[in-house]
C-alpha cells in the first residue's frame, strides 16, 4: 500500500475496491503479476524498463564491443580481450526500455447490446492486460473508440496506477456507431510512439473491420485483435414475423424467423468470425476470439498464454 493511499478518503477507496472487484479479485491480480505481454517487434522506449531496446546501454544482456574512447567507464573495458589481442575494447550491453501498449476498447452500441456482457468482458480484458503491462513497467494507454476516439486515459506506467485504469474503464459507456477505420486514423494521429495496439472489439463495423486493423498495421503499430464474441448472437431467440433493426445504424429488415433461418444465421455468424480470423492470420496479426462464454480467468491465464499473447 502506497503512502498516498493512506490519505485516500475511505469512501473513494471503497469505490475503487468495488470497481476492481467488478473486474477481478486479489488472487487473480497476483497471477497477473507473473505475466507479461509478448511483443514480436522491438520498439524504441523512452525510459529504462524491462524490455529490450535498440539502444545499447547499461543493461545486463551483452550486445557488442567497440573501441575504447576517452571518457568511457573503465569498468566496461573488456580486459580479457585486451589480454588476448592487446586492444582496448569496451563491452556494450543492450539497453532495456519500456514498451508502449495501447488498449483500444470498442465502446460502440453493439458492445453493450443485450445485457452488456460483451462490454463488461472487454473492460475486464483491458483491465487485466493493462495490469500485466503496468506490472512490467510498460507504458499503458487506454482509449475508447467508436467512429472516433471518444475517450482516452493518459499514458501511465507502474502497477500502482492500476486504480486509474479501473476508474477510466468503469466510466466508459457503450454508445455510438462503429467505424474502426476512422477511429484508428484518429488514434494513430494522436499517438506518435509506436507500440502494441490491442484492439478489443466485436468488430461489428458496417464499413468493414479490415480498415481499422490495416490502419494500425500501415502506421507501424503492432496490432493485437481481441475479438469479443457472444455466441448467443449467433442463435437469437426469435420466432415468427419480426422487423429487425440494427442497434447502431437503425437499418431495418423484415424477416420471418424460422428454424432453418436460424441455422443459416448461425452459419453466417461463424463465417463472419472465420473471415476475421483468416484476415488476421494472413497478415500476421495475432487474433484471439474472446468468447464471453469462456470463464474470464481461463481466457487470460490459459488461452492467451497458449496463443503466445502472454508469457
Amino acid at each position: 500500500m502506497g503512502l498516498l493511499e493512506l490519505f485516500r478518503p475511505k469512501t473513494a477507496q471503497r469505490r475503487v475496491e468495488a470497481r476492481r472487484a467488478q473486474l477481478f479479485d486479489d488472487d487473480f491480480q497476483k497471477k497477473l503479476e507473473s505475466l507479461a505481454i509478448v511483443s514480436r517487434r522491438v520498439f524504441a522506449g523512452r525510459m529504462r524498463a524491462e524490455r529490450r531496446s535498440k539502444k545499447k546501454g547499461s543493461g545486463v544482456e551483452f550486445a557488442d564491443h567497440r573501441d575504447y574512447a576517452p571518457g568511457d567507464d573503465f569498468r566496461s573495458v573488456d580486459w580479457n580481450v585486451y589480454q588476448r589481442f592487446g586492444r582496448l575494447l569496451v563491452r556494450l550491453y543492450e539497453e532495456e526500455e519500456d514498451l508502449s501498449i495501447y488498449f483500444i476498447v470498442d465502446t460502440s452500441t453493439s458492445m453493450g447490446f443485450g445485457d452488456g456482457r460483451k462490454f463488461d468482458q472487454a473492460r475486464r480484458l483491458a483491465a487485466a492486460l493493462a495490469y500485466v503491462g503496468l506490472a512490467n513497467l510498460d507504458r499503458v494507454t487506454i482509449v475508447g473508440a467508436t467512429d472516433a476516439v471518444v475517450s482516452r486515459m493518459p499514458t501511465t506506467r507502474g502497477k500502482g496506477r492500476i486504480f486509474k485504469v479501473f476508474d477510466f474503464l468503469s466510466e466508459l459507456e457503450a454508445g455510438g456507431t462503429t467505424d474502426l477505420g476512422d477511429a484508428m486514423k484518429t488514434f494513430v494521429a494522436q499517438h506518435k510512439r509506436r507500440g502494441l495496439a490491442v484492439l478489443i472489439s466485436d468488430l461489428y463495423d458496417p464499413a468493414g473491420f479490415e480498415r481499422g486493423i490495416n490502419t494500425l498495421r500501415f502506421n507501424k503499430f503492432e496490432p493485437f485483435v481481441l475479438h469479443v464474441v457472444d455466441q448467443n448472437e449467433a442463435k437469437p431467440e426469435l420466432k415468427g414475423d419480426v422487423r429487425l433493426y440494427d442497434c447502431e445504424t437503425g437499418e431495418e429488415r423484415e424477416v420471418t424467423v424460422t428454424d432453418s433461418l436460424l441455422e443459416d444465421m448461425a452459419r453466417a455468424f461463424s463465417d463472419y468470425q472465420k473471415n476475421i480470423e483468416r484476415f488476421c492470420t494472413s497478415r500476421q496479426v495475432p487474433y484471439f476470439a474472446a468468447d464471453i462464454g469462456i470463464p474470464f480467468d481461463e481466457l487470460v491465464l490459459r488461452v492467451f498464454r497458449r496463443g503466445g499473447f502472454l508469457r
Binding site: S110, V242, Y245, D246, R253, V255, T256, M265, F269
Partner: protein, 626 residues
C-alpha cells in the same frame, strides 16, 4: 338450394362486418414486432438468398388472408343453413304407430316382426327432414307414446328402442284416434302404421274413426301366416271334490295345411298329460281333460309342432291357476237344521263348529258365520255372515214386509252366490222382504220385494235370505247346497266363478283380501308394479301372459296368484297384410328421405371450416403461408 337459417341480406351484412374485422386483424398482424440486433449485416448475408422468394412470400401472405376470408365465408354460409329446395317445403308431422301386439312376436322375419318394425321406424326417423316432426307410439292394447312430437332424432330413436312387445292384441282404433288427436292442428299429418296388418276387418273403422285429413301410411311387416295356437285354456275344481279338477282348452291350426302337434299339460311343473293331435287346415279342436288330479296350483299347456308350421311362439303356451284349497272355519248358529248341516257336510274342506243361539262364540277366527233364524251382533272373530230368515228386530237389513206364497221372480245371474243355479221355480210359503240400505245389493227378489240381499256391515260382508229355507222347497233342490257353498266360497273368494286365467290386454280386477289401498303386482318377468285397490280388488291392465303374484300388507306377504293368457284367436291369426285401409283410405307407403344428413349442408360447411383450419395450421407451422 335455399337458406333455412338467416336470410341472405343478414348473412352479407355479417360477412361484411366480420371480413372487415379479419382484414384489420390481418393488417395488425403484418405490423411486425421490432427486434434489435447487434449487427444487421450478418442478417443481410442470410437474407440475401431469401430475396428471390420475396414475391412468392407476398403471394403467400395474400393466400393466408384469402384462406381466412374463405373460412369466414364458410362459417357465415353455415349460419344461413343452406338446404336443398325439397327440404325447405312445409314440415311433415308423423305419428309412428309401432305395432307391439302379440302377433309381432312372430319369428317369420328374423329375429322377430317387432324387431323389423323397429328397424323400419328407425329408417323413417333417420330419413326425417330437418323441419319434420314425429312421435313414436307403441300400439298395443292401448296406445302408449314413447316420445314427444319432436324433430330430435336422438329422442325419437330412443323412443323406438323403448317399444316392447306385449302379449295383447293391437287396438288399432284407439291408436288411430290417438294419432289423429296428436296431429290435430298440425300441417301435413301422416299416421304411419308399422306392423303386420293383422288387425281383423278394418273396413268398419271408417265409421268410427276419422283421420281428419291425416294421410294413412302403412309399412307391412311379416311374410308367413303359419301359426298353431292354444286359444282357450281354463281349469276349475269340482265343487264337491276340490282335490280334483277339469281342464278345457282349444287348439287351433291357423295354417292351410294339416298339422301334427304334441300337446303337453303340466301341473306344478310336472307333466300330467301328453297328447298327439292331428289338426286339419284351419281346424279348431277343443279338448277336455276331466277328473284330473296331481296338481295343486299351477297348470301349463304347451304346444309343440314341426319347425316352420308355427311362427308365433307366444300363443303356444297357456297358463292357469287352480283355486287355492284351504280349510275354512264355519260357525253355525242354529237350534238345529238338518238341511243346513247336510249341505255343509258336502264340502270336506269346511271345519264346522255348531252352537246354539245365546251361547258364547268360541275363540278363534271364523271365516263365515251361518246364522239360522237369529241375528245377534256379529262378533269380531267372524269374517262374514250368512243370515237365514233373520228376525225383524235384529236383521242386518231392515224388514220391509211379511209376505206369503212367493218365489224368485228376478235374480242376479252373474253373482257367484247364485252361480249354476236356477231360482225361478222355487216356491216359498212365507217370509219377509228386505228394504236394502244404500250400498246393499239385491241378489234375488220376488215381485213383492227383495228377498236375497248382500252387503257389508261394520266391515263384515253378509248375505241375507228373507225366508227360512225349510218354509220352501229350496231345501229339496240341488240349488240349496249350491247356495250355501257358493255363498261360503264367495266369502272365501274361491267360488265356482273363480277365474283360472285372465286375458291379456284387458283390465283385470283381482280380489285382494283385507283392506289394503295398494298392492304390488309381480308380472311374469319379475317386475313389480304398484297397483291401486278399489272395492277390495286390484285394478290392473296386464299385457304379459304368465303367472302373476300379488304382494301386500306391512310385511309384503304373498296375498295371491293368478294367471294370464293371450287367448285371442284374432291375434293368433298372424297372416301379414300387404295392403291396409285405414278409416276408408288406402294406406300408402311412407316416403323416406334417402339422405337426410346430406341435407344438413351446414355440417359439411363446418367440416370444410375444420379442414381449412387444419390446412392453415399445417401450412403455417411449415411456413408455407407466412
Amino acid at each position: 338450394m335455399g337458406l333455412a337459417g338467416l336470410p341472405l341480406a343478414t348473412l352479407l351484412s355479417i360477412f361484411g362486418a366480420a371480413s372487415a374485422l379479419v382484414v384489420v386483424f390481418y393488417i395488425l398482424k403484418l405490423r411486425r414486432r421490432a427486434v434489435p440486433v447487434p449487427f444487421s449485416r450478418i442478417w443481410d448475408n442470410v437474407l440475401r438468398d431469401k430475396q428471390a422468394t420475396e414475391l412468392f412470400s407476398k403471394l403467400r401472405r395474400v393466400l393466408s388472408l384469402l384462406l381466412q376470408l374463405a373460412l369466414l365465408a364458410l362459417l357465415v354460409l353455415a349460419l344461413g343453413d343452406p338446404k336443398p329446395k325439397e327440404d325447405l317445403r312445409e314440415a311433415r308431422h308423423l305419428v309412428l304407430l309401432v305395432d307391439a301386439s302379440a302377433s309381432m312376436k312372430a319369428v317369420d322375419v328374423k329375429p322377430s316382426r317387432l324387431f323389423a318394425a323397429k328397424a323400419e321406424a328407425e329408417k323413417i326417423v333417420r330419413g326425417l327432414g330437418t323441419s319434420d316432426r314425429a312421435i313414436v307410439v307403441q300400439m298395443g292394447s292401448v296406445p302408449t307414446p314413447r316420445s314427444s312430437m319432436s324433430g330430435d332424432q336422438t329422442e325419437l330413436l330412443q323412443g323406438v328402442a323403448s317399444v316392447s312387445a306385449s302379449d295383447t292384441k293391437a287396438d288399432l282404433e284407439s291408436a288411430l284416434s290417438f294419432g289423429r288427436d296428436s296431429l290435430r292442428g298440425l300441417p301435413r299429418g301422416e299416421i304411419v302404421v308399422l306392423g303386420d296388418g293383422a288387425y281383423g276387418d278394418t273396413s268398419e273403422l271408417s265409421k268410427r274413426v276419422s283421420l281428419e285429413g291425416a294421410e294413412p301410411r302403412f309399412v307391412p311387416i311379416g311374410k308367413s301366416k303359419n301359426n298353431l295356437s292354444i286359444n282357450e285354456f281354463s281349469v276349475r275344481r269340482y265343487p264337491l271334490d276340490k282335490s280334483r279338477y277339469e281342464v278345457m282348452l282349444e287348439v287351433s291350426n291357423l295354417t292351410d295345411t294339416p298339422a301334427d302337434v304334441e300337446l303337453e299339460l303340466s301341473g306344478d311343473g310336472m307333466v300330467v298329460d301328453v297328447t298327439r293331435l292331428k289338426l286339419g287346415p284351419s281346424e279348431r279342436l277343443p279338448r277336455y281333460y276331466q277328473d284330473l288330479a296331481g296338481a295343486s296350483r299351477t297348470l301349463t299347456a304347451r304346444l309343440k309342432s314341426a319347425p316352420g308350421s308355427d311362427e308365433l311362439p307366444v300363443d303356444d303356451v297357456a297358463y292357469a291357476l287352480l283355486p287355492e284349497r284351504r280349510r275354512a272355519r264355519i260357525l253355525l248358529v242354529t237350534q238345529g237344521n238338518t238341511y243346513l248341516e247336510a249341505a255343509l257336510l258336502l264340502d270336506e274342506y269346511l271345519d264346522v263348529t255348531q252352537v246354539t243361539p245365546g251361547t258364547a262364540v268360541p275363540e278363534g277366527r271364523f271365516d263365515v258365520g251361518i246364522l239360522d233364524n237369529v241375528a245377534p251382533p256379529l262378533a269380531e272373530n267372524i269374517g262374514a255372515a250368512l243370515y237365514l230368515n233373520p228376525p225383524a228386530d235384529s236383521s242386518p237389513v231392515p224388514i220391509a214386509s211379511t209376505v206369503e206364497e212367493f218365489g224368485f221372480d228376478t235374480w242376479d245371474r252373474k253373482t257367484p252366490v247364485l252361480r249354476f243355479m236356477s231360482m225361478g221355480d222355487i216356491q216359498v210359503a212365507k217370509g219377509r222382504t228386505f228394504k236394502p240400505a244404500a250400498g246393499d245389493k239385491v241378489l234375488g227378489a220376488s215381485d213383492q220385494g227383495p228377498i236375497l240381499v248382500s252387503g257389508a256391515r261394520a266391515g263384515h260382508r253378509f248375505v241375507a235370505l228373507g225366508f227360512d229355507p225349510r218354509d220352501s222347497d229350496l231345501v229339496l233342490r240341488i240349488a240349496w247346497p249350491l247356495l250355501v257353498l257358493n255363498t261360503i266360497n264367495a266369502f272365501l273368494e274361491e267360488d265356482t266363478g273363480y277365474v283360472s286365467s285372465y286375458r291379456t290386454g284387458e283390465i283385470w280386477r283381482i280380489a285382494v283380501p283385507g283392506s289394503l289401498a295398494t298392492v304390488n303386482l309381480q308380472d311374469p318377468l319379475g317386475v313389480k308394479h304398484a297397483v291401486p285397490v278399489s272395492d277390495g280388488r286390484a285394478v290392473f291392465r296386464g299385457e304379459l301372459a304368465g303367472f302373476y303374484k300379488i304382494f301386500g300388507g306391512p310385511d309384503a306377504a304373498l296375498l295371491g296368484e293368478f294367471a294370464a293368457n293371450l287367448s285371442d284367436l284374432d291375434e293368433s291369426r298372424i297372416a301379414p297384410q300387404q295392403q291396409l285401409t285405414l278409416a276408408g283410405k288406402k294406406a300408402t307407403a311412407v316416403s323416406i328421405s334417402q339422405a337426410s344428413l346430406k341435407s344438413e349442408v351446414w355440417i359439411y360447411l363446418l367440416l370444410a371450416v375444420l379442414l381449412v383450419s387444419v390446412l392453415e395450421w399445417v401450412t403455417y407451422h411449415r411456413r408455407l403461408t407466412v
